[in-house]
Amino acid sequence: MNIIAYLDFNKNELKKVAFEVATLANQIKSQTNANIFAIGINVDTEKANELKDYGIEKLINIKSDLLDKYSSDAIANSLFQFAQSINPDLLIFPANSHGLELAPRIAAKFNAGYVSDVIDLIDDNGNLYFKKPVYAGKSIITTQIKSSVKVISIRPNVFTAKKNPTNSLDIQNFESNISINEVKAKVIDINKNIGKLDVKEADIIVSGGRGMKAAEHFNLIEELASVLGAATGASRAVVDDGWRPHSEQVGQTGKTVSPTLYIACGISGAIQHLAGMSTSKYIFAINKDKDAPIFKVADYGLVGDVFDILPKLTEEIKKIKG
């Protein structure tokens, strides 16, 4: 069995989700004796050494000047060139903004079935089944891919990256032979939200809702987030009111998140909000209404006024953090 593990590793940008993809590939390898081909693009070989901690022994470094800036067509074409040469059985991508574009492209090229946003994999004597949330996490389907080549993307933060050190990493360069005409859409600039952690990538999220009463009170949310090293999130109500940016909205028409800890402050827990965060490992709610639906899904809760509780909570946590 040949597995391609697409790491979304470009130059020296190696994100946590790359280690999660590597961990899953290794988990399958340990059961089926598979070969893993991890993929990076124009990688910094020094940085690549970090992959050794996660059981990667072979990295295919796809090289081309045309891939210096992200372009989903150019990357998909290059990756397909390599992939065809090894006859892959399974290709794993991260379900992030790049992987979600690339995975279905590769699936189309191979005429392969594709399951996105996979949260669990079951190996029943070599038959692979993939679990995926649907209806914004209100239900989960178990699927089987009928084509011989199978493509999946995995939800970040779900498959915990496990250290599994190897002694050596073999980096093989693969010169992509694409032409400029294959770069049909390309990134010309990136605007980073400076100093802000994204809800999709955060271990802890502190979210505020209409109970925060006004945009300026979100400093209480930000202070708690800063002490915890957390990202800040929001309900749709406060995004629609313009208090917070769209990128922070959690829910059915916002981001679906699975952090280790989700702290909901002044959020009622409407079904569309719950859809986006119900797979969080722990949920902690602060709301003045003891009957708010959010408490039904909470592990921990404080019934009271956010303006009274948040400053004290931040102080208490500071004490622990030392």
Partner: protein
């Protein structure tokens, strides 16, 4: 400028999902269906481009009679034409993409718009499939589009920021929230939409590549340790987060 907008029909966001008797799909009884919210952003952007540059907007959907209702919503918002690709039974995104691509290959639109994802299966795969089948440029999850002649600059949302993407028409966009504020159809337009013809095409049949084995409702039992608001309560929760959950 001719624009094709792919439309899907999805359960209303307030729907409580109940698994149907086959154990694989949802029980549709008492479920209200709506036009996929992300498709509204796509359609709105298409309508604005048409209003600025002329041309026409065609809404297309793969499904059965029930989808005509959804297509009528698109007509009420302002789409000029509607096309139903008739297909019965269960089909996957690959099937939908092949059928829409087949139509687009004949009508050659300048732009194909889709919602970022359809809020039933949340797969985000249709835009990429179309780009591959039609060999067209693609920008997904867009929050801003500037078109100048054939030159396109678009902003797409990524983790922790935005990518600015350059491309050319004809191309495919998938719309993210924030792109615009979709209009509400006015009553006279809703009435008019009821009388507009809907073109029908028989779907080309393609074997599904994905099979659903079962559907379940996730059951997560929560600790449900709820306290008041005294200083002691706050200290208690912090202690539990630290020692019991070990998350801080």
């Amino acid at each position: 400028m001719n624009i094709l907008v792919a439309i899907s029909r999805v359960p209303d966001t307030t729907t409580k999902i109940i698994v149907g008797s086959d154990g694989k799909t949802i029980d549709n009884n008492n479920v209200k269906f709506i036009l996929n919210p992300y498709d509204e952003f796509a359609l709105e952007e298409a309508l604005r481009l048409k209003e600025k540059n002329g041309g026409n907007v065609t809404a297309i959907s793969v499904g059965n009679d029930l989808n005509t209702e959804t297509l009528r919503n698109a007509l009420a918002m302002g789409a000029d034409n509607a096309v139903l690709i008739r297909a019965e039974g269960e089909f996957d995104s690959y099937f939908v993409a092949k059928n829409i691509a087949d139509y687009a290959a004949k009508s050659n639109p300048d732009i194909i718009f889709l919602g970022k994802q359809s809020i039933d299966f949340d797969s985000l795969q249709l835009p990429s499939y179309l780009a591959e089948f039609l060999n067209l440029p693609l920008v997904t999850i867009v929050t801003k589009i500037d078109i100048n002649g054939n030159e396109v600059t678009a902003e797409r949302e990524i983790e922790g920021g935005k990518e600015i993407v350059s491309t050319t028409l004809p191309c495919i966009f998938s719309a993210q929230k924030g792109l615009n504020n979709p209009r509400y159809p006015k009553l006279p337009d809703i009435m008019k939409a009821k009388k507009k013809p809907i073109e029908e095409i028989q779907a080309i049949s393609i074997d599904n590549l994905i099979e659903i084995i079962k559907m379940e409702i996730p059951s997560r039992s929560r600790l449900n340790k709820i306290f008041g608001n005294t200083d002691e309560d706050i200290q208690n929760v912090v202690k539990l987060l630290h020692e019991e959950a070990k998350v801080i």
